[in-house]
Assembly symmetry: C2
Homo-oligomer: 339 residues x 2
């Protein structure tokens, strides 16, 4: 495979985003009964970063310039992601998604549940329609593994919320495994899917999955940080939400470990409190984090994951080496985002 050193194709993120939005708008989500189909269009239209399909296109571009060929397949990763949001919102009893009422609020829980089921089935149907038939069996196999991982991650996440005793406390390693499953494997699959569609060799596609998984764990750690330290003016959701809900984030688990080492139990006491003023709790725990240097420790961990991700990407030989910069830039945007 010869490297193309003379022709430098440019991947325009803006152009890709536009193509994706256009394609999402034209998804055939019509059918009867109307209320079964409407939530699909609704949740897909709420926006978001479209990170997963962009990763598909970025992965594709490492091997082939015609990323437009991969748009229809790329969209399906976003459909699957939005299916998980639909069902997660039911499980979390969440009233708001991206500033709008969640589907189970706008319709009802049964309709949102069933619409989610339909969306998952549509994921398979649309993958079969979009992916070239010779590549479909492998992609289906990889997707199923990924989708199973996402379910496992969500269940771990729900179970962790109930583990508040010292005897069965969540370990940091367990947490990292959970976010890998819940969030990172789908980012990994998206990059891998793009690579396979673009013509990558199996080993290359696997390496790109690793790139996506490592960046995905970093992405979630960044989310944990932002939930405490984001600028409330630009963040879009309530800062400190994880704290009031005793969410076992990397920050909280690291702080709990530090406390244990020093024999302190200020944080544990806040967690155990049944009645509290929310603002007071958020302020107090943020102060504990500050005293223990938790933000820096989490950033350090996050940066480690991103660095590992970049390293694999750099060492990987792909067809269009000059395209790596676009993927790296995109991952760096995720690493450095402020909201």
């Amino acid at each position: 495979m010869s490297k193309q050193t003379t022709f430098i194709p440019t991947f325009s993120l803006q152009e890709a985003q536009k193509a994706l939005e256009n394609n999402i708008k034209n998804l055939n989500t019509e059918g009867k009964p109307t209320d079964l189909y409407a939530p699909i269009e609704y949740i897909m239209s709420l926006g978001g970063k479209r990170m997963r399909p962009l990763l598909v296109l970025l992965g594709y571009s490492l091997y082939d310039n015609e990323w437009k060929n991969a748009v229809a397949s790329a969209i399906v990763t976003e459909v699957f992601h939005n299916f998980t949001l639909l069902h997660d919102d039911i499980m979390d009893n969440a009233p708001i998604r991206r500033g709008q009422p969640t589907a189970h609020e706008k319709w009802d829980e049964s309709t949102a549940l069933l619409s989610g089921d339909l969306m998952l089935i549509k994921t398979y149907q649309w993958f079969q329609e979009a992916v070239p038939s010779d590549k479909f069996p492998l992609i289906l196999e990889l997707f199923n593994k990924c989708a199973i991982g996402v379910c496992e991650g969500q269940q771990f996440d729900m179970e962790f919320e109930k583990r508040n005793n010292v005897e069965n406390e969540v370990q940091i390693e367990e947490y990292l495994e959970m976010i890998k499953l819940k969030t990172a494997v789908l980012l990994g699959f998206s990059l891998e899917l793009g690579a396979i569609l673009g013509g990558a060799k199996p080993f290359e596609a696997q390496q790109l999955r690793e790139v996506g998984i490592l960046a995905g764990i970093g992405f979630q750690l960044h989310d944990d940080i932002l939930d405490v330290y984001a600028d409330p003016k630009t963040f879009g959701k309530r800062v400190g939400g994880d704290i009031t809900e005793n969410k076992k984030t990397y920050l909280m688990l690291t702080a709990l470990q530090k406390e244990k080492e020093t024999g302190n139990n200020e944080l544990q006491n806040w967690i155990n409190k049944q009645e509290f003023n929310e603002v007071e709790k958020v302020n107090a725990i943020t102060q504990i984090y500050n005293n223990l240097n938790i933000r820096q420790l989490t950033e350090q961990k996050m940066n480690e994951y991103f660095e590992k991700s970049y390293q694999i990407l750099e060492n990987l030989s792909v067809k269009h080496d000059n395209q790596k910069q676009f993927l790296k830039q995109f991952l760096m945007q995720i690493q450095e985002r402020q909201k």
Copy 2:
């Protein structure tokens, strides 16, 4: 294709049932977190008639004697069916399934929801593993259509429950379309799947789907009858459940139509009553049905569907013509069952 007139292979229902139960017992439903995987094994072990996988094997046997080759694929129709039960039970808020607590009662709603999602993903994974790769694309396409139909049917069913006014009353034609989607298309798909796996031509497989759909509508009409007229000693669930819940069954819709024709509104009054004694309501409405000959009218309709189903089967030329009797016997058992 030569008919085998000398060798009469026998399809043993008992043997097939045994093979299916064995295979279900050996399904790999292990994984972590345990609570995510346990409901799959739980609901699969609750038993049931295993009608769908039996139809796969019966369809297969029309074309090939080695029905054991189709057992692994057949099981997947039962996995999908049980996925729908898991989610339907959440939507219907049902406490009991086959005499045992439903999964969302035994665990919790979020776990049952997520287990169902996993089960649907497993359906695809196990189909890909079980079905020969050359037949897989067609089978996946047909399955997706069937699964979408099942979701549509469930949504129609839920919506019909809310349509209690005369202005938007459910029409009998709508009801028949609903049960076709909710129940019959999966029976049709099961027969079709068996036929395809056995080596049927596309037209033959489609005809067998029709056989399954018609018998499936008949099956549901029979269910409606049994819910009112079954022997309470052997029925397994409460007789008259549909009546107390104002379910728009074929019986109720037919009776409402008859009432309308005669200007009577005794039944409509019972439906509108907010407070009532359950036994009194069941007895009164059963009496209305008796007076209007509703049982006979429903049986007549049911028998029409079964007869149409048998007719298509009889006219269809299959490879092993002598095997048709086993399929017909099986469908007649469904038609004549008392529970």
